[in-house]
């Protein structure tokens, strides 16, 4: 019953050539004028202020041009006027859903430049908190995707279950959204009393929540009809556009920086499965993130069992001066590959930092992906790519 997308032409970027295909497709001789529709910047389907200028022929999209920059805070300029502790407070505002995971690569870069190594307990707690912020982002996505496709209820389940995880992060770091808990050389504080057992009960709840989402959304035939075969990203074109993370793994690319890239934190001592899906459509992206949420729960349980004791802060001078040099650190953030290229000239702050955020490239494939697609499918594809505006605009 689900009509698949029309056969997309071999990759090219000239919409003019596509226009004839759209007409031939519709078999409409009379030349109807195109309608320019503005999706956003105030629109419920764009997670924030993304504006999509769409040229429609009837309900079918001929060309889509995302307009971004409404949330541009100019991080790369701000960073040049701040010291390292001040920057950690800033960068966890880039991808504000998994904010702890933003701080880790930058602190890792500073520690590499200074030749400082955070003690094992700090590494373990950092990995736990990164995986917890991944769980909180994905649980929200599992509910949010249902909302974009029309089902109101999963969104509330998503927020309800995510609340437990966010409370856990707040109990440790003090901040629900902006933990600012990383310091060069370790962490600001240790875990509060009874936190480990509390985390185990919460992980049990998240595990059950995943089953609920499996039945309510992933198993629903209407959801299949709306997402299967919609917005297919071929692996080689996805990689050429820099799409990373679950979006690329959903197209069958078995690539996860936690396992493959340069070793960071304690992912090397964990055994976890990298989930991929052959189809590369919106359903595959939902399915991959659902499995990755479960995988993260298992990983945090392993980490909690193997949590070493000991100090959480290495010996680091009070005023941090990072020696001269350049370093590139990349990590597997919930949204994809996040990396910092830090140029330092030996001052208390970096000379220049290139922030490679995942959603920027994930969204740059939209003009290619949205050609010949129905309007409701545009919303499905936007939801399945799962980008955060702060991540796009920096």
């Amino acid at each position: 019953m689900s009509t698949t997308n029309p056969p997309l032409p071999e990759f090219d970027i000239d919409p003019r050539a596509f226009r004839t295909l759209a007409d031939a497709q519709m078999g409409v001789e009379l030349d109807t004028g195109d309608m320019i529709l503005n999706l956003g910047p105030q629109h419920p389907a764009t997670h924030g202020t993304l504006r999509l200028v769409v040229r429609l022929d009837g309900e079918r999209v001929i060309a889509a041009d995302p307009v971004i920059g409404y949330m541009h805070r100019g991080y790369e300029k701000l960073v040049e006027f701040r010291t390292y502790p001040q920057i950690t407070t800033l960068i966890n505002r880039i991808d504000w859903l998994s904010s702890f995971a933003n701080e880790v690569p930058f602190i890792d870069a500073a520690e590499k430049l200074m030749g400082v190594e955070a003690p094992p307990r700090a590494q373990y707690i950092r990995t736990i908190l990164t995986e917890l912020s991944r769980i909180s982002t994905f649980v929200l996505f599992l509910g949010e995707m249902g909302l974009q496709v029309g089902a109101l209820t999963p969104a509330f389940y998503g927020f309800r279950d995510r609340e437990h995880v966010v409370n856990l992060i707040e109990a440790v770091t003090g901040g629900r959204f902006h933990p600012n808990f990383n310091r060069v050389g370790g962490l600001k504080d240790d875990l509060p009393w009874g936190w480990v057992n509390e985390t185990r009960t919460v992980l049990k709840k998240i595990y059950d929540a995943c089953d609920t989402f499996e039945d309510l959304v992933a198993g629903n035939e209407i959801f299949h009809a709306r997402t299967k075969g919609v917005g297919i990203i071929p692996p080689e074109i996805g990689a050429a556009y820099g799409v990373s993370g679950s979006n690329l793994r959903a197209s069958g690319v078995d690539w996860d920086l936690r396992r493959d890239g340069a070793p960071y934190l304690v992912y090397r001592d964990l055994d976890f499965k990298v989930w991929t899906h052959p189809d590369g459509d919106s359903f595959a992206r939902y399915w991959v993130r659902l499995q990755e949420t479960r995988e993260s729960c298992r990983m945090v349980l392993q980490l909690l069992d193997a949590l070493p004791s000991g100090p959480i802060m290495a010996k680091v001078p009070r005023i941090i001066k990072v020696p001269e040099g350049e370093v590139w650190t990349e990590v597997e953030n919930p949204l994809g590959q996040m990396g910092y290229y830090v140029f330092s000239k030996g001052a208390t702050g970096p000379f220049r930092v290139k922030i490679r955020s995942a959603s920027f490239s994930n969204v740059s494939i939209l003009p290619w992906l949205l050609r010949g697609v129905f309007v409701p499918d545009v919303i499905t594809i936007l939801a399945s790519l799962y980008f955060i505006l702060g991540d796009i605009d920096r």
Partner: protein
Amino acid sequence: MTDVTPTDPGEPQEPQESSTATAVEEVAPDPHALDDAHAELLARFENELGAAVLDTGKAFGMPIVRVQRNEWRRAAEVCRYTLGLDFLSYVAGIDWMPAPKEGGDDGGSDTSSPVQPTETTYGITGSDGRYQVFARVQSTHGNVGITLKVDVDEDALLVQSWVPVYPGADWHERETWEMYGFVFEGHPALRHLYLPTGFEGHPLRKDYPLLSRVVKPWPGLVDVEAMPGGDDDAAAEPAAAEEAS
């Protein structure tokens, strides 16, 4: 190919006080060493491009190569089609000139932001001008990656565009164009990405002031008032003044 680790020309004026924390460099294995996959990649890249490679270097296990200006697109083609580096991470720009002190040279206006050294030093593979474009490409299966750098002529500001090779470079180049002013030849439509259409000036250049900090007086400027008419000795200068530099 000179294998140079980052040594800035000449010692900076005040001796680099070796803070206790930096682990003793020599004993630990060289942190920049390339694992064999990257070393082999670097070797293959060099014999593919031959003379086009001006300089190579490595930083923390990542090879960096500076290529000639007119070979930039060919380097991309080599990376994508011969070396199989199919994933484009980013394309970005850098301005090596140190930022002029805000509010002229009286200094002390804002000591909360870091004080960068004043002379211009270039990164690992050096640069012949103030501007450079650097990009990173990786392989999604071989988990190797390489960073390429190219110089941008200061008065011509021209760079070859990577869009025909990596379509993903489209947005990255638009951002670098509006932030630094480099014109990418062969780019389908260089127009503003982040900044509003009528925006003049290139914000990420070092000489572009951060207005928000110029407008508001720095709350840290005020000092404890000296005793009225008392015999406060000159030595009781507020301790904070020299500590912050």
